[in-house]
């Protein structure tokens, strides 16, 4: 193709066009539309002092109050964090953390006393926190089968390849498959109020309502629909390797058992960062007059099942109240106050600069 740039139509280009005689020639004049002539009406904003400086002050005035509000709200939230990893000799859980094996049948329990200086009003939320636990690792994140968890019976018996190496155990499909499910947090935490009279009162913990609505009702479904006979439904599957019980024995309540067990669902919602907390239980407020957790001393009883010391992880228990903006979060308020002040400050500086050197920019605007 040597003559690729040659356009045969060009060859007779002139003949048809030239010649002033042809009065009936179609005019090739481009259309006079605003679009084609690039004359579309347009808004042409310029960064002038009149727009920029008010913006800065506006941001400042807007952010600082919000920041203060956030900070105050955050400060009113009460939060208590207890590390029960047991890496210290002094820690009550030291023994449990030392003598660990996945297969041990005898649960190891440790109790941690603590004291609340202030009463906790309204609902109190109980979290477990893990550190240095890479729930966001790529291989970890993808190691699940969402259609199995959604109750697809085909996937139940044939888990996705993504679940490898936790897809099959002894030729039987694992339900739920994958590394995430396999590593599910299985410590049991219980809370006791130490009455001043010496008795221990167990604090009732609600284990439902801790997962996302869509997770509980859409994303996770048990196979076999509403069939309450889980044993039959899960027949032919194996429990995850690390689990002590099969998935259908996680809870006695059929609405909170199997794949729709909320502890399981919460675990399956992987964390974004290696240090994270997950909602464990809710302590419902019973009485309007009494605080949910009155001031006093408490005991945390941990059934220590979950090993973290191998990878230098930490385990925590967190008690927290909550406001309209969620849990304790002082950073947000401080950040807002900082940004707001910086804006305000910048606004002032720019105003000064503008005032001092403004003439030049002024005249430039005019002459443009």
């Amino acid at each position: 193709m040597m003559a690729s740039s040659y356009n045969a139509k060009d060859e007779d280009g002139n003949i048809t066009v030239s010649g002033p005689g042809g009065g009936a020639l179609r005019s090739k004049k481009p259309e006079n539309t605003a679009f084609k002539q690039q004359r579309l009406p347009a808004w042409q904003p310029i960064l002038t002092a009149g727009t920029v400086l008010p913006a800065f002050f506006g941001i400042g005035l807007f952010f600082i109050p919000i920041g203060i509000g956030l900070y105050v709200t955050s400060n009113n939230i009460k939060e208590l964090e207890i590390d029960y990893t047991g890496s210290d000799m002094s820690s009550p859980c030291f023994n449990c953390s030392q003598s660990f094996s996945w297969n041990s049948t005898k649960p190891c329990t440790c109790t941690i006393p603590f004291h609340l200086d202030q009463p906790y009003d309204s609902n109190v939320f109980m979290y477990y926190g893990l550190s240095n636990f890479y729930q966001n690792h790529r291989r970890y994140v993808k190691s699940r089968d969402d259609s199995q968890l959604n109750g697809d019976s085909g996937s139940l018996m044939k888990p996705s390849k993504e679940c490898e190496p936790y897809a099959y155990f002894e030729k039987k499909p694992i339900a739920p498959c994958g590394a995430i499910a396999n590593s599910m947090f299985n410590d049991t935490l219980e809370l006791f109020y130490n009455n001043p009279n010496g008795t221990k009162v167990k604090i009732p913990l609600t284990s439902t309502g801790i997962a996302w609505w869509t997770d509980k009702h859409v994303k996770f479904r048990n196979p076999g629909g509403s069939n309450p006979n889980f044993t039959a439904v899960f027949q032919g599957t194996a429990k995850p390797v690390n689990w002590r019980r099969p998935v259908y024995e996680l809870d006695s309540d059929p609405e909170n058992n199997g794949f729709i067990n909320e502890d399981f669902i919460v675990w399956m919602r992987t964390a974004a960062l290696p240090t994270f907390r997950k909602l464990y239980r809710i302590i419902q407020k019973k009485d309007d007059l009494l605080p949910t957790l009155p001031r006093g001393s408490y005991t945390l009883e941990v059934v220590y099942n979950y090993p973290v010391r191998s990878f230098e992880g930490r385990k925590r228990m967190i008690l927290s109240t909550i406001s309209w903006m969620g849990g304790k979060n002082p950073f947000l308020g401080i950040a807002y106050i900082t940004v707001g002040s910086v804006c305000f400050f910048l606004g002032v500086i720019l105003l000064i600069i503008h005032h001092k050197y403004g003439n030049r920019s002024n005249s430039a605007d005019i002459s443009s």
């Binding site: 040597m2 003559a3 690729s4 740039s5 040659y6 356009n7 045969a8 139509k9 060859e11 007779d12 280009g13 002139n14 003949i15 066009v17 005689g21 004049k29 481009p30 259309e31 084609k36 002539q37 690039q38 347009a42 042409q44 002038t48 913006a55 800065f56 939320f125 890479y134 966001n136 970890y140 190691s143 959604n150 996705s160 490898e164 590394a179 309502g209 801790i210 859409v218 919602r269 964390a271 907390r277 809710i282 990878f311 309209w324 903006m325 969620g326 849990g327 979060n329 950040a335 940004v339 804006c343 720019l350 503008h354 030049r360 920019s361 005249s363 430039a364 005019i366 002459s367 443009s368």
Partner: protein, 1354 residues
């Protein structure tokens, strides 16, 4: 297509009328295929071509990587969707292109031609014509293939062709058949013609052919003179027959249209470099993360195996790191997004369309709009530093008009008072019914003088009608058309015709003219032809009374030496006139005669015959005899011809040079002509410090001249700089005057600028510390030396210090060499503009080639990247479209890199928190759609539609063009700033959510730090931040921008909610992991607080920096500085107009003009070739019809004249175009013009009187004169022009005073609205700035408000 090519031909053998014989050689058929694909081959071939692009292959490679599960960090569709989109867009574009090629191929292949088959003529399609066929061609037909001319209907086997398509020359060329084949005289004999041609194989040399014809055992040599090439058009020849030698792809036309060199813009190159750097950066990041991965897997991952065991194939950390490297390459590849190249193409395409659509680059006379023939160079139009221009046809129209003359010491045609009313165009019809209505002359005293029968005047025009080599031709009955070798001659003969001395016809021995209506036949005794050395031509004729007279016209320098001594006094007067004419930039000729006695003639004729017969040194001897008789002549007078510039050339050049673009004129013309044009188009001005002329013939002399020029420049600029300090007094004075004008306007805005403008002038920082305006004129032969390797730098350094450079007598090759030279040494963007085939070389070698699709065919336009029909469109192309394109492209690239870095680098930071596992932050659908949906349209809209200043502003302030030349808007520094900004944004976008969300919970107590919430928050913040950024970056918010920006944001939320909906999840549970995330995340106040915080942190610094830049270092400072420059100019304009307009500027600087006068005078500029005299006297080119025309004069009747005139009107010229032709005379064209020149000349002329008054009176005048004059001159257009008249008159005000863009802006619509004589342009140019505020008002709201403005002024 797939047929095996035969081995290259050694020679070609063709036997006429013998298809079987010719078949053996498998010559290409006449079918041309320019298309690339057919339906079946399209997909594979196109895909193959596309994957030759590195970028596409790279993405294919990524796609393959993603199919490996251990590496795949992203789903395969994140790459394949954009890739498929890109490939299909390109494929669709290629397919449409090819479809049109198919269509035009078909059209050409199916043209009909007549082929002689077995003795009879048969109609055949072009594609079926074979080598060896004899085809018949008729007048005005295209030649179907390269044919050997066998027979012509014209005598002597001559035929005429026009080769405009081929080499761009419009003049006719003569081809002659081999005498032996034309002998039979009967085309039917050709059926039995069985000659065999042996010739060279196909090549692309248009001017060469060598072959041999074997016929009847005889050999005949064939040359290019015998060939008719494909692409030519047959003219003036009834029919001819030819033997097809080369067909289809073998024809010279096709061989010449090879693949054009692919041009890349500097932005392209920069972009490629940057993309490579980014690749390097990508690899670096990959390595860092891979090392991190290795460390992590060893330190943490190995311990973490109880929860996350290593994959069986990945059993050690090193291998894992290796895989993670590739995984990160996949994730981070979005720093070089696949959509970059496509977006750039789309933007350029859009810009090209805007060029094509621009009404202000549409020429209504030739009905051609500007065309961007390549769509890849637009932004480079905003960076041009050097323009190389052809002269003829580009700067000038190549139309000569008889403008002035001096007869017997009396000058005619001078417009008496430049300030007075424009004189009326002379109407010749009552006096001379045969006059050419296209001829314009303004001085009726000359006509009076002819009428009263002044003998000198009569003799003057008699000479003009006799002494030339023009051929006349009777086109149709009675319609006389002159065929002149050069337009100068044509203009002179036409002038004589109008003044009653009409050249009718010639035979080899006679010339018939009609003197004042009476046919007179002169016996032509001799033509003493023109040549470059003699610079004159003469004829010797015997009038009917038997008196012999020699008429001579020639360059005044030559002719004035040969006058009889008694002419001394007349010579002095005429010499003065000649000086005047030359100062006006006119081409001058002196005319003289000499009476010869019979004896003298006999004696001379004898010696002439001897000389003619001489075998050795024939030329010299002839010249000597000519010289001998051209003595002692009597001076008749002088003529002045205007080489008409194209419209708007001087002010286009002025504006372009204000934009710091250097303009070089490269012309094949002589030095005198070129310099003349240089002056008339204001490239050279009398204000120039010095004009250097390099005309040495040897290397040494050229080197010396160049060095001397440079030394002189340095010396002069030193003295100039020294003098500047003393000149400040005058400077402030000028400021005062300028402000006087401004305040007279009553514009308070002007007051603001005032102070600024009176600050001292900026130090001149011209290249090499040379200040002052210099010009260089270099001759072709000197240029040849200057282009030698060791002289190059010398030449470049001298030439580039000059404001204007004129190279004359250059060959097409030299033109290209000069362009290459600048490209090589200056690293500047060059633009070449030309219209002829001789410009193709430089058009192709320059960065940007612009073709004027004008008179000289379309060869240049075909080779060009941009084509339009008027030189003046160049300023719009560069200063408006180019500037915008550059600006848009730069802004686009800055933003594009920014947004992708902001997007991608988040993954990098996340890598440190996810064990370097190549986990993505975002949802995979977000990654797929981010570049092609969420952020593509706003940036495209900005890249296509953005404007910083409106178009007329950038023409008013040419300095705005400079950032492009200096490449300020997008360079490596800007790139790094963008990248840094992008990285900063990514840091904010990652760490703000990180710190906020890590401990935050929903209001239901559920933690927010899960991966999906984090992804949603970051993604939403990202989309919002980049949208705010584009909003800040967009300077011109049209509806489309609004739709794109808001639409993109809207589409983000819509698509997110859709993808996270339960419906989709129920259908594909394993594909949509993010079900419900959008709902539960975006309802959280904390999330929105986080997004707002991140946005503020990203945007506030940017806003502050931009504001500071605007306040402290405004980019518009260029503009401000520019207004100052205009003041400076204005001062000059004032001193000029005090001297009575620019024309007499010469008198101001008399001393200097005197030294230069020689070069400007005697622009004896016959674009003439030698030898036509001989052709005439031999009678070879005489056609029977034209011989018959000799009797033409006695054949007419009054009714015949009527038909003739009617024909002329209806057939050849429509009235508007007629008036167009004499656009040098504004008054004859349309109502808008006379007031225009009036007002401006008033402004220029009387500086002291307040402006309002002038303007007021001018406008009052205008409104009165306009309707009447337009009705008179253009009856046909009367309704139309009346409608526009008020508008025009109002405009005339603004245009005249202010700026020429405004003239074009409105005037372009009405024919002739754009007719500004040089003087007005000049004044308008210097005057416009003073009232710049007005232009704004007059341009934007349109005509009515302008009218209002005017009345306010009154």
């Amino acid at each position: 297509m797939f047929r095996k090519r035969p081995p290259p031909e050694e020679e070609r053998r063709v036997r006429a009328n013998d298809r079987e014989y010719n078949e053996k050689f498998q010559y290409a058929s006449n079918c041309i295929v320019t298309s690339k694909y057919n339906i079946i081959t399209f997909l594979p071939v196109n895909l193959f071509e596309q994957f030759q692009e590195v970028a596409n292959t790279y993405f294919l490679f990524l796609l393959i990587l993603q199919l490996i599960p251990q590496i795949s960090s992203l789903s395969w569709f994140t790459t394949i969707v954009p890739l498929a989109l890109v490939l299909s867009i390109t494929a669709v574009k290629d397919a449409t292109d090819d479809y049109f090629r198919h269509k035009s191929d078909n059209q050409v292949n199916n043209r009909q031609s007549q082929v002689l088959i077995r003795g009879s003529l048969q109609n055949e399609k072009w594609m079926n014509v074979r080598v060896g066929d004899i085809i018949k061609l008729e007048n005005n037909q295209f030649v179907a293939a390269d044919v050997l001319l066998l027979f012509s209907s014209e005598p002597h086997g001559l035929c005429y062709i026009e080769t405009a398509e081929l080499d761009g020359e419009t003049n006719m060329k003569v081809r002659q058949s081999v005498s032996v084949t034309s002998e039979p005289g009967d085309p039917n004999n050709l059926a039995s013609f069985d000659g065999e041609v042996v010739c060279e194989p196909p090549n692309n040399k248009l001017d060469r052919f060598c072959g041999t014809l074997y016929w009847r055992d005889k050999k005949y040599t064939l040359t290019n003179q015998n060939m008719l090439l494909r692409g030519c058009v047959l003219r003036n020849t009834e029919a001819c027959y030819g033997l097809v030698i080369f067909a289809g792809p073998d024809t010279k036309l096709m061989q010449n249209s090879g693949r054009t060199k692919f041009k890349r813009t500097s932005i392209d190159r920069l972009m490629n470099t940057l993309v490579l750097w980014i690749f390097g950066f990508l690899v670096c990041m990959g390595v860092i993360l891979a090392v991190g991965n290795a460390v992590w897997e060893r330190e943490v991952g190995s311990l973490f195996q109880s929860y996350l065991p290593w994959d069986p194939p990945v059993d050690n950390f090193l291998f894992s790191a290796f895989l993670s490297f590739w995984s990160y390459v996949i994730i981070l590849n979005t720093v070089v997004p696949i959509s970059l190249y496509v977006s750039v193409e789309v933007i350029r395409l859009g810009h090209s369309y805007f060029i094509n659509w621009d009404q202000q680059m549409f020429c209504s006379q030739c009905n051609t709009a500007a065309a961007a023939r390549t769509t890849t160079l637009n932004e480079e139009l905003g960076q041009v530093e050097y323009i190389f221009s052809d002269k003829t046809g580009t700067l000038t129209q190549n139309i000569m008009s008889f403008n002035k003359c001096s007869i017997n010491g009396q000058t005619y045609g001078e417009v008496a008072d430049p300030l007075g009313p424009q004189p009326k165009k002379l109407d010749f019809t009552p006096f001379n019914p045969l006059a050419d209505p296209g001829f314009c002359f303004y001085d009726d005293t000359l006509l009076e003088s002819v009428k009263v029968g002044d003998s000198h005047t009569h003799e003057f025009f008699r000479l003009l009608s006799l002494c030339h080599t023009v051929m006349s031709e009777e086109k149709s009955e009675g319609e006389l058309v002159y065929k002149a070798q050069s337009p100068d001659e044509g203009a002179l003969v036409a002038a004589a015709r109008n003044f009653g001395f009409m050249f009718c016809s010639r035979t080899p021995g006679t010339i018939t003219i009609r003197e004042m209506g009476q046919p007179v036949t002169y016996t032509l005794l001799a033509i003493l032809d023109f040549n470059n050395i003699r610079k004159r031509m003469s004829v010797i004729v015997r009038n009917p009374e038997g008196r012999i007279r020699l008429y001579c016209k020639g360059a005044d320098t030559v002719l004035l030496e040969r006058l009889h001594p008694c002419n001394q006094e007349l010579m002095n007067i005429t010499s003065d006139h000649l000086n005047e004419y030359a100062a006006d930039g006119l081409r001058t000729l002196a005319l003289a005669y000499r009476d010869l006695t019979e004896d003298e003639w006999e004696a001379w004729a004898e010696s002439h015959r001897c000389a003619g017969k001489a075998t050795s040194c024939r030329e010299d001897r002839l010249a000597a005899t000519y010289d001998q008789i051209e003595q002692d002549m009597m001076l008749l007078g002088a003529t002045a011809i205007e080489d008409k510039l194209q419209e708007g050339v001087p002010e286009t050049i002025a504006i372009l040079s204000l934009a710091n673009i250097k303009i070089w004129v490269l012309t094949g013309d002589k030095q005198e002509t070129a310099v003349n044009i240089g002056y008339s188009c204001k490239m050279l001005t009398d204000d120039m410090t010095e004009v250097f002329i390099i005309s040495g013939h040897t290397v040494q002399s050229v080197r010396q001249e160049l060095r001397r020029a440079r030394e002189r420049m340095i010396e002069l600029s030193r003295t100039r700089d020294g003098g500047k300090e003393e000149g400040t007094g005058g400077w402030s004075e000028a400021c005062f005057m300028g402000n006087g004008v401004r305040e007279g306007q009553g514009r308070d805005v002007a007051g603001g600028v005032k102070q600024l403008q009176c600050s001292p002038p900026p130090p001149s920082n011209l290249t090499d510390n040379i200040s002052g305006e210099f010009a260089l004129v270099i001759n072709g032969h000197s240029l040849a030396h200057a282009l030698e390797a060791d002289m190059e730098t010398e030449f470049v350094s001298t030439a580039c210090a000059c404001k204007a450079v004129i190279c004359c007598r250059v060959t097409p090759l030299q033109k290209a060499q000069v362009v290459e030279l600048i490209k090589k040494h200056k690293k500047a963007v060059t633009l070449a503009i030309g219209d002829g085939a001789n410009d193709v070389g430089m058009i192709k070698s320059a960065h940007i080639g612009v073709g004027i699709s004008g008179q000289e065919g379309i060869q240049a336009a075909l080779a060009s990247d941009y084509s339009f029909s008027q030189f003046r469109f160049l300023q719009r192309l560069l200063l408006v479209h180019g500037r915008w394109s550059y600006l848009r492209m730069c802004r686009f690239l800055c933003y594009f890199f920014y947004k992708n870095f902001a997007f991608t680098m988040v993954h990098f930071w996340f890598g440190f928190f996810c064990g370097f596992s190549a986990q993505t932050v975002y949802d995979q659908y977000f990654i797929t759609l981010y570049n092609i949906v969420y952020t593509s349209l706003p940036v495209l809209a900005m890249g296509i539609f953005d404007q910083d200043v409106p178009d007329h502003r950038s023409l008013e302030y040419p300095k705005l063009y400079e950032p492009g030349q200096l490449n300020l808007l997008f360079n490596k520094r800007e790139f790094f700033i963008c990248i840094a900004q992008g990285i900063y944004t990514s840091v904010v976008l990652f760490f703000v959510p990180y710190t906020v969300l890590s401990d935050a919970t929903q209001s239901t107590g559920v933690p927010l730090a899960d991966h999906q919430t984090f992804a949603m928050t970051t993604a939403t913040a990202l989309v919002i931040v980049v949208s705010v950024q584009i909003a800040l970056g967009t300077g011109f918010w049209t509806v489309i921008n609004h739709v794109c920006v808001w639409g993109s944001l809207g589409s983000y939320f819509t698509i997110m909610f859709a993808l996270h909906s339960q419906t989709l999840f129920r259908i594909f549970p394993s594909q949509f992991h993010f079900v419900g995330s959008a709902q539960s995340t975006l309802l959280q106040p904390v999330v929105w607080l986080t997004i707002a915080l991140a946005t503020a942190i990203c945007i506030v610094p940017v806003l502050a920096v931009r504001f500071l830049k605007l306040a402290l270092r405004p980019r518009l400072s260029d503009t401000v500085r520019y207004t100052q420059l205009v003041r400076q100019k204005k001062r000059k304009a004032v001193s000029r107009s005090a001297g009575g307009g620019w024309r007499s500027a010469g008198s101001v600087s008399e001393g200097r003009l005197g030294t230069r006068g020689g070069s400007r005078r005697s622009g004896y500029a016959f674009a003439h070739q030698e030898g036509f005299g001989e052709l005439i006297t031999s009678g070879k080119n005489m056609r029977l019809s034209s011989l018959a025309l000799a009797t033409f004069a006695s054949r007419h009747s009054s009714s015949w004249i009527d038909t003739l005139r009617r024909k002329k009107h209806t057939h050849t010229h429509t009235p508007p175009s007629t008036s167009e032709e004499c656009s040098s005379a504004p008054s004859c064209v349309s109502g808008s013009v006379p007031p225009l020149s009036n007002s401006s000349s008033i402004l220029g002329g009387s500086q002291d009187t307040p402006i309002e008054e002038d303007v007021g009176t001018a406008s009052a005048q205008n409104t009165q004169t306009v309707p009447t004059s337009s009705a008179q001159t253009q009856p046909a257009l009367a309704p139309d022009s009346e409608a526009t008249a008020p508008q025009d008159s109002a405009l005339a005000l603004s245009t005249g005073i202010f700026t020429s863009p405004a003239v074009r802006y409105h005037g372009g619509d009405s024919p002739g609205g754009w007719t500004v004589s040089l003087g007005t342009v000049q004044e308008a140019l210097f005057g416009w700035k003073g009232i710049a505020v007005h232009t704004n008002a007059s341009n934007s709201p349109g005509a009515p408000s302008v009218a209002k403005e005017t009345s306010q002024l009154e």
